[in-house]
Structure formats: structure tokens, C-alpha cells
């Protein structure tokens, strides 16, 4: 079975500014991968390439062994199948939610893929109750809280029951409770056949959401490994700008050391 995604020497640039550079990568079906990197490291661009929204300027991208190009996606059969199997949740839920009500939002994707009316209604109702959104069914997006918006955004792609989920900063700007709920949801899919690729710069959730971590820097892969391997590698994280050197003093001794914010509460501990 070919891997879910196979990227070979992929480069992509925005009007001459390189965003992804000669990147090669393979992601298996059912794998849970986290893409980490500072702002501007190319995470979002990579997700958009994987979702067939941007197309590599150089190199090739394959999904399930099939080459992914604008022309291929325009072919009805392949396009529909790909959109049905691969789903992306954008970082900005306000861009993701463009329909008048929550119900219409969730029904959007199945309608575009020309499902039958009854199937659409049934799936949308199921998805809304799965995501505990029944009560918000007729709400317009501007009457939703930040956490609710993220949940609706997720529901709007889960309705298709996609094989591959691409999540761009899913926990950004969420309160601790909503963040916890979202991580629980991602954890539920562990062991199912879903491939989950999450872009994040939040190191404290890596162990919960990923089996493999890929560190990006300047559009290139800096390192790849299990969350445990990556998280102990302070030098690497410092290089990827994911942590910062922390300068402070203890009883007259001033020193600096690498400092992560893995634990959101409580002081960090170390020895002198």
C-alpha cells in the first residue's frame, strides 16, 4: 500500500519568497504527525500543499500513490474523491465559517460533493450531535464563542468522515477547557485508520496528538522523531525558535538556559 503522502524535493514560493525548500517527506496511512516550527517556518504552507490548495513549484506530491496537480484535481472523479478523503481545518475559524448558520456550515461540504439530500440531512444531524452542537444548529457564526467556532469548523469537515485530517493550529487561542476537549477528540482517533497531521507550535500537546514530530525551520525539515526524542533535544528546539534562552537570577547567581513552556502552570525547576 502506498503511503498517504509522499513528497519529493518539493519547493514552493510566494511571489519569489521561498516558503518550502526541497522538502522530502513520507507519511503513512493512520499515522499521527505533528508539524512543529516557529511562525513562518512553512507549516501552514505545507498543510495547504498536502490539501491540494497550493501546488509545488518544483518537485512532486503524491496522495495514496497518485500524483497531485491542479489538473488532476479539476477532473471530477479524482477531485471529488480527494476532497472527500482529505480535509483541512484552517487556523482562522472565521475564514472557515462562511455560511449563514451552523447547520448550513456543516452541510456545505456534502452538498458540494453532491450527496443525496437525505444523506446530507442525516450525516449533518449525526455530526452535530457527535460534536455537541445540536443547540447551536441555527446560530449564525457571529454569535459563537471562539471555542464553539473551532468545534463547528471541525464538524464542518468531520461530516465527510475523511481519512486524512489536516489541522492548522487547532488549539490556538482556545481557553484551557476547550483546548482539553479538542485534544481528547484527537486522542479518540488513535488506533483508528485516520491519518492526522497537525501543525502547531505548542510543545505541551505533542505527546497527546502525535506519534511522530517533524520540526520545520525555514521551509526545510530540521529533524524528525517521536515526541519524547524531540522534546529532550533542547539545542534543536532552540535552533527552530520554539524555545527561548531564559535569563534570570537565583540568589545572586545570574545565568541563562533554554526554557520551554511545556507545563503551562507552576514554575519550572532546575539545578544550579
Amino acid at each position: 500500500m502506498p503511503p498517504a503522502f509522499q513528497l519529493e524535493q518539493v519547493s514552493y514560493d510566494y511571489e519569489g519568497i521561498p516558503a518550502i525548500q526541497e522538502l522530502s517527506l513520507s507519511i503513512e496511512h493512520g499515522e499521527r504527525v505533528a508539524l512543529v516550527g516557529a511562525n513562518g517556518s512553512g507549516k501552514s504552507t505545507l498543510l495547504r500543499i498536502l490539501d491540494g490548495l497550493y501546488f509545488a513549484t518544483v518537485g512532486s506530491v503524491r496522495f495514496d500513490g497518485e500524483i497531485l496537480t491542479a489538473e488532476r484535481l479539476r477532473a471530477d472523479g479524482f477531485g471529488f474523491a480527494f476532497r472527500r478523503r482529505v480535509a483541512l481545518v484552517l487556523q482562522n475559524p472565521d475564514a472557515q465559517l462562511f455560511n449563514p448558520t451552523v447547520f448550513d456550515e456543516v452541510a456545505y461540504a456534502p452538498l458540494q460533493l453532491q450527496w443525496k439530500r437525505e444523506d446530507v440531512l442525516r450525516r449533518v444531524t449525526d455530526t452535530l450531535s457527535l460534536m455537541a452542537l445540536d443547540a447551536l444548529r441555527d446560530r449564525p457564526p457571529y454569535r459563537l464563542s471562539g471555542g464553539e467556532k473551532k468545534r463547528v469548523a471541525l464538524a464542518s469537515v468531520l461530516v465527510l468522515d475523511p481519512e486524512v485530517l489536516l489541522l492548522d493550529e487547532p488549539t490556538a487561542a482556545l481557553d484551557p477547557r476547550s483546548q482539553g476537549q479538542l485534544i481528547d477528540l484527537i486522542q479518540q482517533w488513535k488506533g483508528t485508520n485516520k491519518t492526522i497531521i497537525t501543525a502547531t507550535h505548542q510543545l505541551d500537546i505533542l505527546e497527546d496528538i502525535a506519534d511522530r514530530v517533524i520540526v520545520l525551520d525555514g521551509g526545510r525539515v530540521l529533524a524528525s522523531g517521536t515526541p519524547a526524542e524531540i522534546l529532550v533535544h533542547q539545542e534543536l528546539l532552540l535552533k527552530a525558535n520554539l524555545i527561548h534562552a531564559h535569563r534570570h537570577s537565583h540568589g545572586g547567581i545570574t545565568h541563562s538556559h533554554a526554557h520551554t513552556h511545556r507545563h503551562s502552570h507552576g514554575a519550572h525547576e532546575h539545578e544550579h
Binding site: A87, L88, D94, P100, Y108, Q112, R117, P140, Y142
Partner: protein, 630 residues
């Protein structure tokens, strides 16, 4: 300049709907060809942007404020075709969701502002900016002139539409059935307000925003990319401009029509303006600023002859019916009192605010912010009323839409005062049975109609030629029978149509309006764009709100008018860049979920027995009314 229902005859409305439809069709086709699948999110988000910019209250030289329409901006950045769609969408949402501007006159409003405005603005900008460098100083100036001329061209169209009504549509006795003013009155009345207030607001926002984009994101203005753009200042108010303004203000002071035209544009009176004492003060602020000269210049005399022209032919007359005469004098007295008190309030405010400059200077931000807040409260009120169980709510949205339209049309077709009065009663019963709060009806609808339409129509009592009825002793003004009938007719008609459309928009959730439009065969693209525009109006309003609030919190001490204007145009500029970015993201989100250029929507409505009955009843009522009221 949003023409409300009732001012234009059904045939004028139909003609302008046809004209507008041609423009919509052509631009939809062109835009889709140029932008392919990208068009829908781009046009929608930018329509929302225009809508939000329309809420900006710009301080203008002389102490007044004005709202831009945003047509200059839209035409420059989107081209004429995209601009037609964006402005039309934002006008449609004002009519269908906010109840601002009529539903029968939507075609006329779109024709004037979206189509004529877009083409004029674009042509003038192209002509003046010509092949100049993208960073050239000519660009903001060209944009300002383009906006100014475009909005005046739109106003002229509206004035002509108003002005031909009494010529073409009157009954046997010569009573005008729709807008009562002939061209020679309608044109100066419309143009004075637009050549000064509205035109300047449009010029300031178009020119200012182009200057801002030159500094920040020059690629958006087209032309060669020059990254090292010279920072340009927003055009300040030069002494010459100030003198011009002074002259114009004097003209306005001496022209009775000018008093009516100042502050709120002639033909545009909303609940907001009437309830807000600030705006009420604005109505007369321009004219109260300056001292009266000893003798009026000759130009002014010429203008005032416009005002008196209709009278010489009619000999002063006596009152045939003393009771009627008494009522009329009382009505006239109230009108004069209203004007005088507004003038006094404005004078008092002006004095007060001179002592406390910071408060006055922040006025603009506060007004704009309160405009934003009203957008949200309007949405909440609609949500609340729509959730109640009432007569309208029980019917299929399509029936409501068609029924309301039929009744509005019937109101327009009626020429008899009694029949229109009966319709007003029917409309009020419908509204109350649909749980529209009596307070909203009283203050938000009727008081506004009474106040603004009343003040605007007052001169028609004397200006309409016909049988003299009563002469106001001290003023030697003759009220004609035809004038009185025309005023009453239009008054009742506007009251009826506004009551009908208010109940429609308050009782129908926005997504139902959209689905009703869809099942009434409005193209899917249009419905999708309306939905998206509406959705992003709220998001962009929130952004603009935050920007204004953060500026307000950091601003200490007085800001000059030109500083405030510069601030408004900067905010518009930031908002514009944000909007473009957003539209790109929305486009990706649509693609990712299977959008391939063709929009598909779900229609959930099912007509029930009572819906058919209601349709029959409403349409039959409309038919009977028209037949009786002929």
C-alpha cells in the same frame, strides 16, 4: 440617497430594476470570467467592507459629518464590474436585513449608486490617474475626484428620478402621486447636499485610502510595483477649500431647501438619525456656524427664485374651510417650530462643544462606534422577534416575501388616500400580530416617517401647483389642495411600506430570507454572495470596532478634523488589506471542502396548506386594494 419605497412609481421602479438587472447580469458574467472561482469570496468580502465603510462618520470642514458610499474605492480596487456587484450586495443587505432603503426601489438605488456610480468613478480615475506611477501623488487626488464626481452623478440620477414623478404620474386634478417635486426643485435639493457633505465624505475616504495603500500595499492599486513609495499625507483642508465651504454654507443657510438638505441627505432619513440627538443637531449644524451677510449675493437670489417660482401664478386666497385652515396652520407651525428648535439645539451644542473641545473632537469616533453597536443590536432584535410565535413567523418565508412585495406594490398602485390609510391599518395589524413590538412600530417606524418624511414633504404643500386652499397670513405662502393631497398620500404610503418591510425583516431570520430568495429562482451565486457578505459584515464590523476603540483609548486631548479623517482612512485601509487576506483564506476553505465553481445549497422549505391560503389571501387583498384604490 437610499430612495425609500413610495417615492417612485411602480413603472419607474420596474424600469430601473430592468436597468440594474442588465448591469448585474453583465457584471456577474464578466467577473466570473475574469476571476473564475475566486470571484464569489472576493466580491462578498469586499461588499462587506463597503458596507462597514458606509458606517464611518467622517468629520467635514464646517462641523458636519457625512457617510461615504464607498463606490469610489470599490470601483478603483475592483474595477467597474466588481464594484457594481459589491455595492449592489451591500445595498441589498441594507434593504433586506436592516430595512434601510426600499424593496421596490432596490433596483433604482442599485442603478444610481452601484452602476452609474461605479462607471463614473472608474472612468474618472482612469482618466485622471492615466499612466501615472502607482506611487504618484496624482493617484489619491484622482481617487478623491472620482469619488466626489461619482456620488454626485448618482445623486443627479436620483434627483432626475424624483423630478420626473410629478410630470408623469398625477391624477386628474393634477395631484402628484409619488415624489411631488418637479425637476427644478428636486435637482438643487439633492445636489446641494451631495456637492457639499456627501461628496466630500466620498472624496476624503477614496483619496485617503488610496494614499494609505500607496504607503502600505502598493501592489493593490495596480500599475508598476514601486516598493519605495513616498509617504503621502492625506489631503488637508486648505484655506481655499475652507472658503469654498463657507460660501456653500451661506448658500445653504439662505435656501430653505438647503436647510432640509443639510445633515441628512435629501431622500435618506433613518430611525438612527431621528432618535439620535447628535444627528438631529447635525441637520442644522452647517448652517448655524456662520453669520448672515447683510445682502444676499445675486447667485443666492437666483436660487431662492427657484423656491418661489411656482407661486406667482396663484392669487392669495381665503380659507374655505376654517377648521381645515386651522389644522393646516397648526401643522405648518409645528414644522417651523421643529426647525427652529433643531437650530437652537445645534447652536447650543456648538457653543458647549467649543468650550470642551476633546468631547467634540471624539464625536466622530463615538458616532461611528454607536453605528457599529446598532448593527449588532439590530441583528439581535431580529433574532428575538423571529423566534416569537406570530402571524408572519407561522408562514413559509417565501409566502412572507411574496406577500409583502405584493402589498407594497399595491400601496404604490393606490391613488386614493382612504385606501392607503386602510392599508396602513392592515399593515399595522399584521405587524402587531407578528409580535413586532408596538414601541418599535411607534418610535422606530412611524415617528421617523412623521418626522423626516414630514419635514421633507412640508414644502410640497406650497410648491405643488393647483387650487389654493389656504394662505398663511404672515408668510404669504399658499397651500394648494393638490399639495395637501400629495403630501398626505405620500406620507401614508411611506408609513405603510415601511411598516410592511419592517415586519418582514424583523420576523424573518436572515438564512430564511436567503433560502426564500433561492427557491424564488434568484441565482445561487447571488444568494451565496449575499450570505457571505452578511456574514463578513459582522466580522469586519468587529475588527473596525476594535481598531476604533483601541485608537480611542490611546488618544488623549483634542484631535483636529483632518487628524480624525486621516484616522478614518487609515482604519479603512487596514480593514481593506484584512478583507483581501480574508477573502483569499475563505476561498481556500471553500476549495478544500469541494467547491468547484458551482454553488450548491439545500432548500428545506415545504409549502403547507396554510401557506397556500395565506398567499391567496395576501395577493387577493393586494388585487382588491389596487382595484378599489384606482
Amino acid at each position: 440617497m437610499h430612495i425609500p419605497d413610495g417615492y417612485l412609481s411602480p413603472s419607474t421602479c420596474a424600469t430601473l430594476y430592468a436597468g440594474a438587472s442588465a448591469g448585474w447580469y453583465a457584471s456577474l458574467k464578466r467577473v466570473k470570467r475574469q476571476l473564475s472561482t475566486r470571484a464569489i469570496p472576493l466580491i462578498s468580502v469586499l461588499a462587506a467592507f463597503c458596507f462597514v465603510v458606509m458606517m464611518f462618520n467622517l468629520p467635514l470642514p464646517g462641523g458636519t459629518t457625512g457617510h461615504p458610499v464607498g463606490v469610489g474605492l470599490a470601483a478603483i480596487v475592483l474595477g467597474p464590474w466588481g464594484s457594481i456587484l459589491a455595492i449592489s450586495l451591500s445595498l441589498a443587505i441594507q434593504a433586506l436585513f436592516f430595512g434601510d432603503g426600499g424593496i421596490t426601489t432596490l433596483g433604482a438605488n442599485c442603478f444610481n449608486m452601484a452602476i452609474v456610480g461605479s462607471f463614473v468613478a472608474w472612468a474618472i480615475y482612469k482618466l485622471l490617474a492615466a499612466r501615472s506611477d502607482a506611487s504618484s501623488k496624482r493617484r489619491p487626488l484622482a481617487a478623491a475626484i472620482a469619488g466626489y464626481v461619482a456620488i454626485n452623478a448618482s445623486a443627479l440620477c436620483a434627483a432626475i428620478e424624483f423630478g420626473i414623478q410629478p410630470m408623469l404620474f398625477h391624477d386628474a386634478s393634477g395631484t402628484p402621486l409619488y415624489a411631488p417635486y418637479p425637476l427644478r426643485v428636486a435637482i438643487p435639493a439633492m445636489m446641494i447636499g451631495h456637492l457639499t457633505i456627501a461628496g466630500l465624505a466620498e472624496a476624503a475616504i477614496s483619496g485617503g485610502m488610496i494614499a494609505y495603500l500607496q504607503r502600505t500595499d502598493i501592489g493593490l492599486i495596480g500599475g508598476a510595483k514601486t516598493p519605495t513609495a513616498q509617504p503621502l499625507a492625506v489631503a488637508p483642508s486648505t484655506p481655499a477649500l475652507r472658503r469654498l465651504w463657507l460660501t456653500v454654507a451661506l448658500l445653504m443657510l439662505l435656501t430653505p431647501l438647503g436647510v432640509l438638505a443639510a445633515g441628512t441627505a435629501w431622500g435618506e432619513w433613518s430611525a438612527r438619525d431621528f432618535q439620535d440627538p447628535n444627528s438631529r443637531a447635525q441637520i442644522t449644524a452647517a448652517s448655524s456656524n456662520h453669520q448672515l451677510p447683510a445682502t444676499p449675493p445675486s447667485g443666492i437670489e437666483k436660487l431662492s427664485s427657484v423656491w418661489t417660482a411656482p407661486f406667482p401664478g396663484y392669487a392669495p386666497s381665503f380659507v374655505k374651510n376654517s377648521t381645515l385652515g386651522y389644522v393646516l396652520s397648526a401643522m405648518f407651525g409645528v414644522g417651523i417650530l421643529l426647525l427652529v428648535s433643531l437650530l437652537t439645539i445645534s447652536l447650543a451644542r456648538q457653543r458647549q462643544s467649543n468650550k470642551v473641545p476633546p468631547k467634540h473632537r471624539h464625536h466622530f469616533i463615538e458616532q461611528t462606534l454607536s453605528g457599529f453597536a446598532k448593527t449588532f443590536s439590530r441583528a439581535l432584535q431580529s433574532e428575538h422577534t423571529a423566534a416569537q410565535s406570530g402571524l408572519m413567523q407561522a408562514l413559509d418565508p417565501r409566502v412572507r416575501l411574496v406577500g409583502t412585495f405584493a402589498l407594497v406594490l399595491a400601496t404604490l398602485l393606490c391613488g386614493r388616500i382612504q385606501t392607503v390609510a386602510a392599508l396602513l391599518l392592515l399593515a399595522s395589524v399584521l405587524a402587531l400580530a407578528s409580535r413586532v413590538p408596538a414601541r418599535t412600530l411607534l418610535i422606530g417606524v412611524w415617528l421617523v416617517v412623521l418626522g423626516f418624511t414630514g419635514v421633507i414633504l412640508l414644502p410640497a404643500l406650497f410648491l405643488t401647483p393647483g387650487q389654493p386652499l389656504y394662505v398663511i397670513p404672515a408668510l404669504h405662502l399658499t397651500i394648494t389642495q393638490q399639495g395637501l393631497r400629495a403630501v398626505l398620500l405620500l406620507f401614508l404610503r411611506v408609513g405603510t411600506t415601511v411598516t410592511l418591510t419592517t415586519s418582514l425583516v424583523l420576523c424573518t431570520p436572515w438564512n430564511h430570507v436567503l433560502k426564500a430568495l433561492r427557491s424564488l429562482r434568484v441565482p445561487t451565486e447571488v444568494v451565496t454572495m449575499l450570505a457571505m457578505t452578511h456574514r463578513y459584515i459582522f466580522l469586519l464590523t468587529e475588527s473596525a470596532n476594535q481598531m476604533f476603540e483601541s485608537r480611542q483609548s490611546r488618544t488623549v486631548g483634542p484631535l483636529s478634523s483632518s487628524d480624525t479623517r486621516a484616522m478614518a482612512t487609515r482604519t479603512a485601509g487596514v480593514l481593506f488589506s484584512k478583507s483581501l487576506e480574508l477573502s483569499q483564506e475563505v476561498y481556500l476553505a471553500m476549495l478544500s471542502r469541494g467547491f468547484a465553481g458551482e454553488v450548491r445549497l439545500l432548500s428545506e422549505f415545504r409549502m403547507r396548506g396554510r401557506d397556500y391560503v395565506a398567499t391567496a389571501v395576501l395577493v387577493a387583498t393586494a388585487g382588491i386594494v389596487v382595484w378599489i384604490g384606482r
